[in-house]
Amino acid sequence: MSFLGFGRPQPTSEEKISAVQAEMKVLTQMHDRLTKACAKKCVPNDYRESELNKGESVCLDRCAAKFFDVHMKVSELLQQEMQSKGAGGGGFGFGG
């Protein structure tokens, strides 16, 4: 999760703990989103069988690999965009 900058020195005790907590939350959410996306892509909704069949299993593995790739790719694209527009500026910005 390099994009959140965890792993840098964290001074106080409270900060260290909440950094670990935050990282766990990020991982949980990502697992959640991965599951939601790949269930939709690979497993039909009628549930005629309770086991994953061969085709579904292979699909899930490939789907996970592609999900991580898209994650990386989007992260890179956003970084490029932000650099090209300068630190202060727009594009994806939310201005309250």
């Binding site: 260290k16 670990v20 697992h31 086991e51």
Partner: protein
């Protein structure tokens, strides 16, 4: 993860337990919603039909298998990322 004192670790564990309960409850809720939406279609009575009941059971089982499989892929990916970061970042602390 390293660099925590014993007291910090204890505090962290307590909070983690709470968070894990939340995570588990989130997974549980998603599962209920998904299996309900996928399996329940008959509103001519208020009890689950045999078909619906069976569908929910298969839905739960299949999703546990699915979640398990994706967890493994996710852990492999995280291990790989951590390794790359340590190689690139020098791995201090």
């Amino acid at each position: 993860m390293d660099g925590l004192t014993a007291a910090e670790t204890r505090e962290l564990e307590q909070r983690m337990q709470k968070q894990q309960m939340k995570v588990f409850f989130g997974l549980f809720s998603n599962l209920v919603d998904h299996c309900f939406m996928s399996c329940i279609d008959d509103f001519t009575s208020k009890s689950l039909t045999g078909r619906e009941s069976g569908c929910v059971a298969r839905c739960v089982q299949k999703h546990m298998a699915l979640s398990q499989r994706l967890s493994e892929r996710f852990q492999e990916y995280n291990a790989q990322m951590t390794q790359q970061q340590q190689q690139q970042g020098g791995g201090f602390r």
